[in-house]
């Protein structure tokens, strides 16, 4: 009656072994490490780099625990934090001869101390959330309207060129927000222009209208094109953030898209939050435009006239106004590299730019046509533009190598180069949520979370053993098995463990015991009603199952709702909660029954079971179990 077929025990043993293996890495702890990864897309971290790192460490006489090449990064595991700092210096000296142009990022890190054979099984410890290890969390909101306006602006520039090439005369192109208005003198040219739109500007949809004597064509970005533009903007911003964060040398940063227009950035272990925020928060976009040199513009610059049509007024860093044309020649997207440097002749600080193929071509054409004129480099931060520098074009610049000089300090040159190098953002971003957790608080949180689970578990187990005797022992073992499975599952999924997650673990354990209480109470009840011990065990488990199933499903519904609608800490809670309900159904019913069957199942003439006192109301007497 109470025997499990062999295959059920096989399942239990497999679950136990697999659970044990995958939960194991969590108990080895972490050791200080140095992580080397590539800072540029062209640089590869490979066995050569590994040899270099090893040689450098040997030369410095640092004893190392382990050096491994792990995908795209090298991880050097060390015995203590002292050696960690020394190793970092040694590696930095060997790999980065020129600190102003780093090819690698050398960062301090923590690496699991679990042995290689476990790592070989892809058994890794749970990833600790920021609240447990300390660090910074940012949520950034991308301004999509700005991305669309910017696209509309560049489209209107292209439109002007196209119409000129086709010799279609218009009487003005004007951008208003995300719509472009083109005016024509007659309907015929408008029809011609419309053909151009259909041919070359598939992203735009047009509508005709008449405005007094003018024939107007209003173009706006198509909805699907708009979606694509927004998607690209978000992707580019994420790439840019990657580049910028690389500059910080953070090990294992998390940069993720959230929703349609948000990006989450987590920098574990970062303490210098001001610097992090400064680099992230520079929501700068870069544009190169021509300075308007017409007489009216000069007048406007001097403050005596209106800003001419098609131009805008910006301030230089010194406060001097500069009138620049609205048409954008280049954006940060066409930039591949930027480095600070010094001019060979004048010894002035400079910023040296490298452009991509498209940028090179445009730049050559523009500089050839505009020798002697000024070109402005504008930086937009939070929607406000500023002229970084507006140098005079001395000669045609081909080959894509551009030197900007003039009125810059070395510091400014460095800053500008960093910003340009990190790439420009496709759309401005704003920090809408930010959390910083100190490392001491993180360690404290781990200890507190661990203690709540441990003491709670102990209290429940002790009570169960006293109240239900041997069945309580079975229940406690099942509960421990549940904890093991839960930890193993979380490690396998590489879920992020947070403090609310640990709270969920404690709560799940408290609730998991419910299944066993239901079963044990039911068995007692059956015994009280005079059932034979074997029959009581059998009915107890069978009858309790329906109840356990119903009550767990309803709890699971609540857990799923938390998972679906929660964010941040609530999600961390929900993941553990949902998984815990499932593991508890398995361990509380299937596993604990396995134990009971193993103990009692083979005894044919079972007189009594050790499940504590069974009290019978009729006789008023109690049957002492065993």
């Amino acid at each position: 009656m109470n025997r499990y077929p062999v295959w059920k025990y096989v399942i239990i043993v497999i679950a136990l072994v697999v659970g044990g293996l995958y939960a194991l890495p969590n108990f080895f702890g972490e050791s200080p490490a140095v992580q080397v990864s590539a800072a540029k897309t062209l640089v590869k971290v490979d066995t050569n780099t590994l040899a270099q790192v090893e040689a450098a460490l040997k030369a410095a006489g640092i004893t190392v625990d382990q050096v491994v090449l792990d995908g795209t990064s090298i991880k050097v595991r060390l015995n203590d934090t002292d050696a960690q700092l020394k190793a970092k210096d040694a590696i930095q000296k060997a790999l980065l001869p020129d600190p102003s142009n780093p090819a690698y990022v050398v960062a301090l890190n923590l690496v699991s101390r679990s042995p290689a054979w476990l790592t070989g099984l892809h058994a890794a410890p749970m990833y600790l959330g920021l609240d447990l290890r300390g660090g910074v969390h940012f949520m950034l909101q991308v301004d999509m309207q700005a991305a669309l306006s910017k696209r509309a602006e560049s489209l209107s520039g292209d439109l002007r060129t196209s119409l000129r090439e086709k010799n279609i005369r218009h009487s003005g192109i004007n951008r208003e927000g995300q719509t472009i208005e083109v005016k024509f003198r007659d309907a015929a040219t408008r029809t011609q222009a419309q053909a151009v739109f259909q041919d070359q500007f598939t992203d735009l949809q047009t509508a005709e209208s008449a405005d007094g004597v003018d024939f107007k064509l209003t173009a706006s970005i198509k909805p699907d094109a708009a979606r694509r533009i927004q998607d690209q903007a978000l992707k580019q911003n994420i790439t840019t953030l990657h580049n910028r964060i690389n500059e910080l040398g953070v090990a294992e940063p998390v940069i993720q898209q959230q929703g349609l227009d948000r990006i989450v950035v987590q920098l574990p272990g970062v303490q210098d939050t001001a610097k992090a925020k400064d680099i992230l928060g520079r929501t700068a976009t870069l544009e190169v435009r021509m300075v308007d040199e017409s007489a009216e513009a000069r007048g406007a610059e001097a403050g005596t006239g209106m800003v001419p049509f098609g131009s805008e007024r910006y301030l230089e860093r010194s406060g001097q106004p500069v009138i620049v044309k609205k048409q954008v020649i280049l954006t940060g997207e066409n930039l591949t590299d930027a480095q600070p440097g010094f001019d060979g002749q004048t010894q002035e600080p400079t910023v040296n730019l490298n452009l991509d193929a498209k940028g090179t071509r445009i730049f050559r054409d523009v500089t050839r046509e505009n020798v002697g004129k000024r070109m402005a480099i504008l930086l937009f931060e939070k929607g406000k533009g500023e002229v970084v520098t507006a140098p005079v074009i001395r000669t045609e610049i081909g080959g894509g190598r551009v030197q900007i000089s003039g009125r810059m300090t070395t510091m400014e040159a460095n800053d500008t180069a960093l910003l340009l190098r990190a790439g420009s953002l496709a759309a401005p971003m704003e920090i809408i949520e930010e959390t910083t957790i100190g490392p001491s608080l993180g360690a404290e949180n781990i200890a507190k979370g661990f203690h709540s689970v441990a003491w709670g578990f102990l209290a429940v187990a002790v009570f169960m053993c006293i109240y239900y005797m041997l069945f309580g022992v079975f229940s406690s073992i099942a509960l421990a098995f549940n904890l093991l499975l839960l930890v193993a599952l979380l490690s396998m999924l590489q879920a992020t463990l947070t403090l609310p997650g640990m709270a969920a673990m404690a709560l799940v354990l408290g609730m998991a015991i419910d299944s066993n209480v239901l079963i044990n109470e039911r068995i007692r009840e059956e015994l009280r009603n005079g059932a034979s011990p074997q029959a009581a065990i059998h009915t107890g488990y069978d009858r309790a199952w329906a109840t356990i199933f119903d009550s767990n499903i309803t709890t699971l519904i609540a857990g799923l709702a938390l998972l679906a609608f929660g964010s941040g800490p609530v999600r961390g809670f929900a993941v553990v909660h949902c998984l815990g309900i499932m593991t508890s159904m398995f361990s509380g019913v299937f596993f604990s029954r396995g134990l009971v069957n193993l103990w009692y199942g083979r005894k044919n003439r079972l007189k009594s079971v050790s499940i504590g006192t069974i009290w019978r109301p009729e006789s008023g007497a109690t049957i002492k179990a065993e």
């Binding site: 909101q141 920090i431 959390t435 709540s452 109240y467 015991i513 519904i557 709702a561 929660g566 109301p617």
Partner: protein, 318 residues
């Protein structure tokens, strides 16, 4: 060991009216406090900046408040957090000033007064995020309520679904009432706790309903009230032991979990205490007032009964 030596079924339902009146009063009181005092929502919902600062010696909250007020922030809250050395400062969101500037400003000012001040945690939430969180929270609540009702209506009967959900919303409102009355901080983890309580408390009701369903099949001569009394009596030991062990876990969280888990554990504690009460006196009695009958449950289970070889009454009709 045996805690419960119950000779006869306890007539829980005889006092149902009294207990229902009591729960109605507590419920109305909770609603009253929710409206009159409102929830003390955490920075996650309202938006703003939160700083947790720790000192080498017990902090003087008055001095901290003074220092922060001098910076010209309107409506600043300063309170002790966890230990006497930790202080929590809340600044409302300001237009045009970034949180970076806010927290940097505050930290510089605090360090100028007492050099041992060090930042443990800062949190900044924009107002739009807060609104979304509140909306998501309500959605989650609605999802749980509807989901559980559908499940119970399928597994049991609509009367049980209605009874369970009323009983459990009663728990939720009472937890929130406590938070409103004591002006405890209602944060995201507390919301998670509230929803977990909802699931947990339904769990309770389900165990009792399950027994009611079973009794309807087993004891064909009892009337509804007797059946409910018997179901509650025979599950009461399980109810109390399960709650006791969950409560032990939650207490351990309350004692060892530190300040971060404090309100979370507190919400669970209240939820568990009221969970026992509500499933016994609210859920079961509402099911009774709604007039559950043997026919409600038996007709859906006739097919099942035929296939149950252990049921001695298989195939019998009343």
């Amino acid at each position: 060991m045996e805690f419960f030596r119950i000779k006869r079924d306890i007539p829980f339902m005889r006092h149902a009216l009294v207990f229902n009146a009591v729960s109605l009063v507590t419920f109305l009181a909770a609603v009253f406090f929710l409206f009159s005092r409102g929830l003390h929502l955490s920075v996650e919902f309202t938006g703003g900046t939160l700083l947790e600062v720790t000192y080498a010696q017990p902090a003087d909250v008055a001095v901290v408040r003074d220092t922060v007020a001098k910076l010209g922030f309107a409506d600043v809250q300063v309170q002790n957090y966890g230990t006497a050395r930790d202080v929590l400062i809340r600044l409302p969101a300001q237009k045009g000033v970034s949180s970076a500037q806010q927290s940097a400003q505050v930290m510089t000012a605090l360090k100028a007064v007492d050099a041992s001040a060090s930042m443990r945690r800062t949190e900044f939430v924009g107002p739009q995020v807060g609104d979304e969180l509140a909306a998501d929270g309500l959605k989650a609540l609605a999802f749980v309520v509807v989901g559980i009702m559908i499940y119970l209506a399928i597994r049991f009967e609509w009367k049980f679904a209605v009874a369970a959900i009323i009983a459990n919303l009663h728990d939720v409102i009472i937890i929130m009432g406590f938070f409103a009355f004591f002006q405890w901080e209602f944060s995201l983890p507390v919301l998670a706790a509230v929803l977990a309580v909802l699931g947990y408390s339904v769990n309770e009701s389900v165990v009792i309903f399950d027994r009611i369903r079973e009794n309807f099949r087993r004891y064909r001569k009892m009337n509804t009230v007797e059946i409910i009394n018997n179901a509650i009596t025979s599950t009461i030991s399980r109810t109390i032991i399960t709650h006791g062990s969950t409560q032990m876990m939650v207490l351990s969280m309350l004692l060892f979990g530190g300040a971060t888990l404090h309100y979370f554990a507190l919400a669970l504690t209240i939820g568990i205490l009221f969970g026992i009460y509500s499933s016994v006196f609210v859920a079961a009695s509402i099911a009774m007032w709604l007039g559950i009958q043997r026919e409600d449950l038996v007709k859906g289970t006739v097919v099942k009964k035929d296939t149950d070889p252990n049921d001695p009454n298989a195939g019998a009709t009343v």
